[in-house]
Protein backbone atom coordinates (compact mmCIF):
# COMPACT_ATOMS: atom_id res chain seq x y z
CA UNK A 1 0.00 0.00 0.00
CA UNK A 2 2.79 2.36 1.02
CA UNK A 3 4.82 1.40 -2.07
CA UNK A 4 1.79 2.02 -4.29
CA UNK A 5 1.22 5.38 -2.70
CA UNK A 6 4.84 6.41 -3.26
CA UNK A 7 4.74 5.21 -6.87
CA UNK A 8 1.57 7.13 -7.51
CA UNK A 9 3.13 10.21 -5.94
CA UNK A 10 6.24 9.92 -8.12
CA UNK A 11 4.14 9.56 -11.25
CA UNK A 12 2.05 12.54 -10.23
CA UNK A 13 5.12 14.67 -9.57
CA UNK A 14 6.68 13.72 -12.90
CA UNK A 15 3.50 14.45 -14.79
CA UNK A 16 3.23 17.83 -13.13
CA UNK A 17 6.67 18.89 -14.30
CA UNK A 18 6.25 17.79 -17.90
CA UNK A 19 4.28 19.74 -20.48
CA UNK A 20 1.37 18.04 -22.17
CA UNK A 21 2.36 16.16 -25.26
CA UNK A 22 2.75 18.29 -28.39
CA UNK A 23 2.77 21.60 -26.53
CA UNK A 24 5.44 23.86 -27.95
CA UNK A 25 7.28 26.86 -26.60
CA UNK A 26 5.95 30.15 -27.93
CA UNK A 27 8.09 32.41 -25.78
CA UNK A 28 10.36 35.00 -27.29
CA UNK A 29 10.43 38.14 -29.37
CA UNK A 30 8.62 37.76 -32.65
CA UNK A 31 9.44 40.39 -35.26
CA UNK A 32 6.50 41.27 -37.47
CA UNK A 33 6.88 40.73 -41.21
CA UNK A 34 5.36 43.91 -42.49
CA UNK A 35 5.91 43.51 -46.22
CA UNK A 36 3.02 41.05 -45.98
CA UNK A 37 -0.06 43.23 -46.59
CA UNK A 38 2.29 46.19 -46.29
CA UNK A 39 -0.33 48.91 -46.62
CA UNK A 40 -2.49 47.25 -43.96
CA UNK A 41 0.41 46.78 -41.52
CA UNK A 42 2.28 49.98 -42.26
CA UNK A 43 0.80 53.30 -43.32
CA UNK A 44 -2.75 52.01 -43.17
CA UNK A 45 -5.56 51.42 -45.66
CA UNK A 46 -7.47 53.92 -47.76
CA UNK A 47 -10.82 55.29 -46.63
CA UNK A 48 -13.83 53.29 -47.75
CA UNK A 49 -11.71 50.28 -48.75
CA UNK A 50 -13.59 47.39 -47.21
CA UNK A 51 -13.12 44.77 -49.92
CA UNK A 52 -12.96 41.33 -48.35
CA UNK A 53 -14.81 42.27 -45.18
CA UNK A 54 -18.05 40.30 -44.78
CA UNK A 55 -20.13 43.26 -43.68
CA UNK A 56 -23.84 43.16 -43.21
CA UNK A 57 -25.76 46.38 -43.88
CA UNK A 58 -25.23 47.60 -40.31
CA UNK A 59 -21.47 47.10 -40.48
CA UNK A 60 -21.26 48.96 -43.78
CA UNK A 61 -23.44 51.82 -42.51
CA UNK A 62 -21.32 52.18 -39.38
CA UNK A 63 -18.11 52.13 -41.42
CA UNK A 64 -19.45 54.78 -43.80
CA UNK A 65 -20.10 57.10 -40.87
CA UNK A 66 -16.43 56.91 -39.82
CA UNK A 67 -14.14 59.90 -40.24
CA UNK A 68 -10.48 59.20 -39.53
CA UNK A 69 -10.32 62.44 -37.56
CA UNK A 70 -12.41 60.85 -34.79
CA UNK A 71 -9.29 59.01 -33.58
CA UNK A 72 -7.71 62.43 -32.96
CA UNK A 73 -10.36 63.46 -30.45
CA UNK A 74 -8.47 64.06 -27.20
CA UNK A 75 -10.39 61.32 -25.39
CA UNK A 76 -9.72 58.79 -28.17
CA UNK A 77 -6.03 59.34 -28.97
CA UNK A 78 -4.88 56.89 -26.32
CA UNK A 79 -8.00 54.75 -26.41
CA UNK A 80 -6.89 51.12 -26.62
CA UNK A 81 -7.68 49.08 -29.68
CA UNK A 82 -9.10 45.61 -29.09
CA UNK A 83 -6.94 42.49 -29.34
CA UNK A 84 -7.80 42.40 -33.07
CA UNK A 85 -5.15 45.10 -33.44
CA UNK A 86 -2.63 42.26 -33.32
CA UNK A 87 -3.86 41.48 -36.84
CA UNK A 88 -4.58 45.01 -38.02
CA UNK A 89 -1.64 46.86 -36.51
CA UNK A 90 2.04 47.00 -37.41
CA UNK A 91 3.76 45.73 -34.30
CA UNK A 92 5.98 42.83 -33.28
CA UNK A 93 5.05 40.48 -30.41
CA UNK A 94 6.71 39.51 -27.17
CA UNK A 95 5.35 36.28 -25.67
CA UNK A 96 6.13 34.56 -22.41
CA UNK A 97 4.64 31.91 -20.15
CA UNK A 98 3.43 32.58 -16.61
CA UNK A 99 3.83 29.52 -14.34
CA UNK A 100 1.38 28.41 -11.70
CA UNK A 101 3.39 28.88 -8.48
CA UNK A 102 2.16 25.59 -7.02
CA UNK A 103 2.37 23.19 -9.94
CA UNK A 104 4.88 24.87 -12.24
CA UNK A 105 2.53 24.35 -15.15
CA UNK A 106 1.79 27.15 -17.56
CA UNK A 107 -1.07 29.10 -16.04
CA UNK A 108 -1.18 31.68 -18.78
CA UNK A 109 0.54 32.85 -21.93
CA UNK A 110 1.15 36.56 -22.13
CA UNK A 111 1.48 38.79 -25.17
CA UNK A 112 3.03 42.09 -24.23
CA UNK A 113 1.15 45.34 -24.67
CA UNK A 114 1.67 48.04 -27.25
CA UNK A 115 1.02 51.68 -26.58
CA UNK A 116 -2.39 51.28 -28.21
CA UNK A 117 -3.25 47.72 -27.16
CA UNK A 118 -3.51 46.15 -23.72
CA UNK A 119 -1.59 42.93 -23.00
CA UNK A 120 -3.33 39.70 -23.95
CA UNK A 121 -3.49 37.17 -21.12
CA UNK A 122 -4.34 33.72 -22.41
CA UNK A 123 -5.53 31.71 -19.43
CA UNK A 124 -4.53 28.06 -19.74
CA UNK A 125 -5.77 26.83 -16.36
CA UNK A 126 -9.31 26.04 -17.41
CA UNK A 127 -10.92 28.86 -15.46
CA UNK A 128 -14.51 29.56 -16.42
CA UNK A 129 -15.46 32.38 -18.72
CA UNK A 130 -17.13 35.31 -16.90
CA UNK A 131 -20.84 35.85 -17.12
CA UNK A 132 -22.00 37.39 -20.37
CA UNK A 133 -23.10 40.34 -18.26
CA UNK A 134 -19.60 40.88 -16.85
CA UNK A 135 -17.93 44.16 -17.82
CA UNK A 136 -16.38 44.35 -21.29
CA UNK A 137 -13.16 46.19 -22.10
CA UNK A 138 -10.66 46.42 -24.95
CA UNK A 139 -8.55 43.66 -23.38
CA UNK A 140 -11.37 41.15 -23.27
CA UNK A 141 -11.15 37.75 -21.61
CA UNK A 142 -9.07 35.07 -23.29
CA UNK A 143 -8.69 31.35 -22.66
CA UNK A 144 -6.46 28.94 -24.52
CA UNK A 145 -6.28 25.24 -25.32
CA UNK A 146 -3.73 23.16 -27.15
CA UNK A 147 -4.79 21.31 -30.26
CA UNK A 148 -1.70 19.24 -30.98
CA UNK A 149 1.09 21.77 -31.35
CA UNK A 150 -1.31 24.59 -32.12
CA UNK A 151 -2.48 26.98 -29.40
CA UNK A 152 -6.03 28.19 -29.91
CA UNK A 153 -7.09 31.27 -27.94
CA UNK A 154 -10.64 32.53 -27.66
CA UNK A 155 -11.32 36.15 -26.71
CA UNK A 156 -14.69 37.51 -25.63
CA UNK A 157 -15.95 40.38 -23.45
CA UNK A 158 -14.53 42.99 -25.79
CA UNK A 159 -15.68 46.55 -26.27
CA UNK A 160 -16.36 47.94 -29.70
CA UNK A 161 -13.33 48.40 -31.91
CA UNK A 162 -12.03 48.37 -35.46
CA UNK A 163 -11.07 45.45 -37.65
CA UNK A 164 -9.40 47.68 -40.22
CA UNK A 165 -7.78 51.01 -39.45
CA UNK A 166 -10.13 52.83 -41.79
CA UNK A 167 -13.13 52.42 -39.53
CA UNK A 168 -14.47 48.94 -40.29
CA UNK A 169 -16.17 48.24 -36.96
CA UNK A 170 -16.40 45.34 -34.56
CA UNK A 171 -19.02 45.13 -31.83
CA UNK A 172 -18.95 44.24 -28.15
CA UNK A 173 -20.54 40.90 -29.05
CA UNK A 174 -17.56 39.85 -31.17
CA UNK A 175 -15.43 36.77 -30.52
CA UNK A 176 -11.82 36.56 -31.70
CA UNK A 177 -10.28 33.14 -32.20
CA UNK A 178 -6.51 33.22 -32.55
CA UNK A 179 -4.51 30.22 -33.77
CA UNK A 180 -0.80 30.24 -32.90
CA UNK A 181 1.19 28.05 -35.28
CA UNK A 182 4.94 27.77 -34.85
CA UNK A 183 7.20 26.38 -37.55
CA UNK A 184 10.78 26.57 -36.32
CA UNK A 185 11.73 30.22 -36.12
CA UNK A 186 8.54 31.41 -37.75
CA UNK A 187 5.23 32.04 -36.01
CA UNK A 188 1.97 32.40 -37.88
CA UNK A 189 -1.16 33.78 -36.29
CA UNK A 190 -4.51 33.09 -37.92
CA UNK A 191 -7.21 35.31 -36.43
CA UNK A 192 -10.93 34.85 -36.96
CA UNK A 193 -13.44 37.53 -36.05
CA UNK A 194 -17.00 36.38 -35.46
CA UNK A 195 -19.32 39.32 -35.01
CA UNK A 196 -23.07 38.73 -35.05
CA UNK A 197 -23.74 42.47 -35.08
CA UNK A 198 -21.69 43.66 -38.08
CA UNK A 199 -20.56 40.57 -40.02
CA UNK A 200 -22.38 37.79 -41.84
CA UNK A 201 -19.42 35.38 -41.84
CA UNK A 202 -16.14 35.14 -39.93
CA UNK A 203 -13.46 37.56 -41.10
CA UNK A 204 -10.04 35.93 -41.26
CA UNK A 205 -6.56 37.47 -41.25
CA UNK A 206 -3.21 35.78 -40.94
CA UNK A 207 0.14 37.30 -40.21
CA UNK A 208 3.59 35.95 -39.65
CA UNK A 209 6.58 36.76 -37.47
CA UNK A 210 10.25 35.80 -37.32
CA UNK A 211 11.89 34.83 -34.05
CA UNK A 212 14.29 37.61 -33.17
CA UNK A 213 17.18 38.02 -30.76
CA UNK A 214 16.42 41.74 -30.73
CA UNK A 215 14.08 42.03 -27.72
CA UNK A 216 10.59 43.37 -28.37
CA UNK A 217 9.40 45.59 -25.53
CA UNK A 218 7.01 43.85 -23.13
CA UNK A 219 4.90 47.01 -22.98
CA UNK A 220 4.71 49.85 -25.43
CA UNK A 221 5.86 53.34 -24.54
CA UNK A 222 3.21 55.45 -22.83
CA UNK A 223 0.67 57.09 -25.08
CA UNK A 224 0.33 60.81 -24.36
CA UNK A 225 -2.70 62.87 -25.27
CA UNK A 226 -2.02 66.01 -27.28
CA UNK A 227 -3.65 68.36 -29.76
CA UNK A 228 -3.99 66.51 -33.07
CA UNK A 229 -6.21 69.14 -34.68
CA UNK A 230 -9.59 68.08 -33.29
CA UNK A 231 -10.76 70.36 -30.54
CA UNK A 232 -12.56 68.94 -27.51
CA UNK A 233 -16.30 68.58 -28.09
CA UNK A 234 -16.20 68.06 -31.88
CA UNK A 235 -17.05 64.53 -33.02
CA UNK A 236 -15.91 64.04 -36.63
CA UNK A 237 -18.28 61.82 -38.61
CA UNK A 238 -20.22 61.49 -41.87
CA UNK A 239 -24.00 61.47 -41.97
CA UNK A 240 -25.70 58.76 -44.05
CA UNK A 241 -25.00 59.28 -47.75
CA UNK A 242 -22.41 61.98 -47.07
CA UNK A 243 -19.15 59.99 -46.96
CA UNK A 244 -17.05 61.65 -49.69
CA UNK A 245 -14.71 58.70 -50.23
CA UNK A 246 -16.99 55.91 -51.45
CA UNK A 247 -15.41 56.16 -54.93
CA UNK A 248 -11.82 56.52 -53.69
CA UNK A 249 -10.77 53.00 -54.70
CA UNK A 250 -12.42 53.41 -58.10
CA UNK A 251 -10.60 56.66 -58.78
CA UNK A 252 -7.23 55.40 -57.57
CA UNK A 253 -7.16 51.80 -58.71
CA UNK A 254 -10.20 51.22 -60.92
CA UNK A 255 -11.79 48.90 -58.35
CA UNK A 256 -15.60 48.91 -58.64
CA UNK A 257 -17.44 50.47 -55.72
CA UNK A 258 -19.42 47.28 -55.10
CA UNK A 259 -16.11 45.55 -54.32
CA UNK A 260 -14.78 48.34 -52.12
CA UNK A 261 -17.96 48.36 -50.04
CA UNK A 262 -17.30 44.81 -48.88
CA UNK A 263 -19.75 42.04 -48.11
CA UNK A 264 -19.17 38.31 -47.84
CA UNK A 265 -19.11 37.78 -51.59
CA UNK A 266 -16.04 40.02 -51.88
CA UNK A 267 -14.01 37.50 -49.83
CA UNK A 268 -14.19 34.74 -52.43
CA UNK A 269 -12.19 34.26 -55.65
CA UNK A 270 -15.27 33.85 -57.84
CA UNK A 271 -16.20 37.47 -57.11
CA UNK A 272 -13.35 38.51 -59.39
CA UNK A 273 -15.14 36.87 -62.32
CA UNK A 274 -18.32 38.70 -61.41
CA UNK A 275 -16.71 42.14 -61.58
CA UNK A 276 -14.08 41.54 -64.26
CA UNK A 277 -15.93 43.66 -66.82
CA UNK A 278 -16.26 46.50 -64.35
CA UNK A 279 -12.59 46.66 -63.38
CA UNK A 280 -10.64 49.23 -65.33
CA UNK A 281 -6.87 49.08 -64.98
CA UNK A 282 -5.65 52.65 -64.39
CA UNK A 283 -3.34 54.00 -67.06
CA UNK A 284 -0.81 54.74 -64.36
CA UNK A 285 -0.67 53.75 -60.71
CA UNK A 286 0.13 56.87 -58.70
CA UNK A 287 0.30 55.72 -55.08
CA UNK A 288 1.17 52.56 -53.15
CA UNK A 289 1.84 50.57 -56.28
CA UNK A 290 3.97 47.93 -54.64
CA UNK A 291 7.29 49.35 -55.80
Amino acid sequence: MTRNTISAGVVLLLSMSLPALAEIDLSGSWASINHEDSLERGGGPYPADWAGIPFNEYGRAKALSFSQSIISMPERICWFQTQWHIAAGPFSLRMWAVPDPLTGKVQAWMIGAWETRAPMIIWMDGRPRPSKNAPHDQTGFTTGVWNGNELIATTTHLKTGYIRRNGAPSSDQATITTHFLRHGNMLTLALLMDDPVYLTEPYVLTRSYNLSTNPVAIGGPPCIVGDEGVESGRVPHYLPGKNPYTDEMTKLFGIPEEAAMGGAQTMYPEFRDKIKDKFKLPAKCKLNCGN
Binding site: Y46, I71, P222, P236
Partner: protein, 128 residues
Protein backbone atom coordinates in the same frame (compact mmCIF):
# COMPACT_ATOMS: atom_id res chain seq x y z
CA UNK B 1 30.96 63.25 -51.40
CA UNK B 2 31.68 59.67 -50.33
CA UNK B 3 31.21 60.57 -46.67
CA UNK B 4 27.81 62.17 -47.44
CA UNK B 5 26.77 59.05 -49.31
CA UNK B 6 27.88 56.90 -46.37
CA UNK B 7 25.87 59.04 -43.96
CA UNK B 8 22.80 58.78 -46.18
CA UNK B 9 23.12 55.00 -46.46
CA UNK B 10 23.68 54.71 -42.70
CA UNK B 11 20.61 56.87 -42.04
CA UNK B 12 18.57 54.65 -44.34
CA UNK B 13 19.73 51.48 -42.63
CA UNK B 14 19.01 53.02 -39.23
CA UNK B 15 15.47 53.97 -40.28
CA UNK B 16 14.83 50.39 -41.40
CA UNK B 17 15.35 49.26 -37.84
CA UNK B 18 13.00 51.81 -36.32
CA UNK B 19 9.64 50.55 -35.11
CA UNK B 20 6.47 51.79 -36.69
CA UNK B 21 3.96 53.46 -34.40
CA UNK B 22 0.97 54.03 -36.62
CA UNK B 23 -2.22 54.15 -34.58
CA UNK B 24 -4.32 55.39 -37.43
CA UNK B 25 -4.22 55.11 -41.19
CA UNK B 26 -2.18 57.75 -43.00
CA UNK B 27 -3.89 57.01 -46.31
CA UNK B 28 -7.26 57.64 -44.64
CA UNK B 29 -6.09 60.75 -42.79
CA UNK B 30 -4.11 62.63 -45.44
CA UNK B 31 -4.29 63.40 -49.16
CA UNK B 32 -1.10 61.59 -50.02
CA UNK B 33 -1.04 62.79 -53.61
CA UNK B 34 -1.04 66.46 -52.57
CA UNK B 35 1.43 68.75 -50.84
CA UNK B 36 1.19 72.19 -49.30
CA UNK B 37 3.60 74.61 -47.69
CA UNK B 38 2.93 76.74 -44.64
CA UNK B 39 5.11 79.42 -43.09
CA UNK B 40 4.31 79.84 -39.43
CA UNK B 41 5.57 80.20 -35.87
CA UNK B 42 5.91 77.32 -33.44
CA UNK B 43 3.35 77.33 -30.65
CA UNK B 44 4.25 73.99 -29.11
CA UNK B 45 6.25 70.86 -29.93
CA UNK B 46 4.63 67.70 -28.55
CA UNK B 47 7.49 65.21 -28.63
CA UNK B 48 5.58 62.08 -27.83
CA UNK B 49 4.08 58.73 -28.75
CA UNK B 50 2.32 57.47 -30.76
CA UNK B 51 3.29 60.40 -32.99
CA UNK B 52 4.80 63.78 -32.30
CA UNK B 53 2.85 66.87 -33.24
CA UNK B 54 4.05 70.36 -34.01
CA UNK B 55 1.53 73.12 -33.33
CA UNK B 56 2.04 76.11 -35.58
CA UNK B 57 0.30 79.46 -35.88
CA UNK B 58 -0.12 81.33 -39.13
CA UNK B 59 -2.44 84.04 -40.49
CA UNK B 60 -4.94 83.62 -43.28
CA UNK B 61 -5.59 86.19 -46.02
CA UNK B 62 -7.76 88.23 -43.68
CA UNK B 63 -5.22 88.21 -40.88
CA UNK B 64 -7.12 85.64 -38.84
CA UNK B 65 -5.00 83.28 -36.77
CA UNK B 66 -4.94 79.60 -37.80
CA UNK B 67 -3.51 76.82 -35.63
CA UNK B 68 -1.98 73.92 -37.57
CA UNK B 69 -1.31 70.43 -36.24
CA UNK B 70 1.62 68.90 -38.10
CA UNK B 71 2.05 65.18 -37.53
CA UNK B 72 5.57 63.88 -37.21
CA UNK B 73 7.31 60.68 -36.13
CA UNK B 74 7.25 59.10 -32.67
CA UNK B 75 9.75 60.38 -30.14
CA UNK B 76 12.05 57.37 -30.62
CA UNK B 77 11.95 57.72 -34.38
CA UNK B 78 12.73 61.43 -34.31
CA UNK B 79 15.42 60.97 -31.70
CA UNK B 80 17.24 58.55 -33.96
CA UNK B 81 17.21 61.16 -36.72
CA UNK B 82 18.61 63.90 -34.51
CA UNK B 83 15.42 65.69 -33.52
CA UNK B 84 15.20 66.19 -29.75
CA UNK B 85 12.40 67.60 -27.60
CA UNK B 86 14.14 71.00 -27.46
CA UNK B 87 15.12 71.16 -31.12
CA UNK B 88 12.14 73.42 -31.79
CA UNK B 89 10.94 76.07 -29.36
CA UNK B 90 7.85 78.29 -29.16
CA UNK B 91 8.29 81.31 -31.37
CA UNK B 92 10.61 79.64 -33.90
CA UNK B 93 9.69 80.70 -37.41
CA UNK B 94 9.56 77.65 -39.70
CA UNK B 95 8.57 76.62 -43.19
CA UNK B 96 6.85 73.23 -43.41
CA UNK B 97 6.04 71.12 -46.45
CA UNK B 98 3.47 68.43 -45.83
CA UNK B 99 0.53 66.39 -47.05
CA UNK B 100 -2.76 68.11 -46.20
CA UNK B 101 -5.38 66.38 -44.07
CA UNK B 102 -8.54 65.08 -45.73
CA UNK B 103 -10.67 67.05 -43.28
CA UNK B 104 -9.89 70.78 -43.87
CA UNK B 105 -11.51 71.63 -40.53
CA UNK B 106 -8.60 69.94 -38.74
CA UNK B 107 -5.89 72.20 -40.29
CA UNK B 108 -3.59 69.25 -40.28
CA UNK B 109 -0.46 68.22 -42.19
CA UNK B 110 1.76 65.17 -42.36
CA UNK B 111 5.36 66.35 -42.22
CA UNK B 112 7.55 65.93 -45.29
CA UNK B 113 10.20 68.49 -44.48
CA UNK B 114 10.77 71.50 -42.23
CA UNK B 115 13.23 74.40 -42.37
CA UNK B 116 14.11 77.08 -39.84
CA UNK B 117 15.54 80.00 -41.83
CA UNK B 118 17.04 81.75 -38.81
CA UNK B 119 19.85 79.22 -38.44
CA UNK B 120 19.46 76.99 -41.49
CA UNK B 121 18.34 73.95 -39.48
CA UNK B 122 16.21 71.51 -41.44
CA UNK B 123 14.77 67.99 -41.35
CA UNK B 124 13.49 65.78 -44.13
CA UNK B 125 12.36 62.20 -43.96
CA UNK B 126 9.58 59.68 -43.70
CA UNK B 127 7.90 57.99 -40.78
CA UNK B 128 5.22 55.41 -40.13
Amino acid sequence: MKSKLFVLVLAGVTMLGVRAYAHHSFASTYLEDQQMTIEANVLQFLYRNPHSFLQLESKDDKGKSITWAVEWGAGAQLGSSGVQRDTLRPGDHVIVLGQPGRNPEDHRLRMINIKRPSDGWSWKGTFD
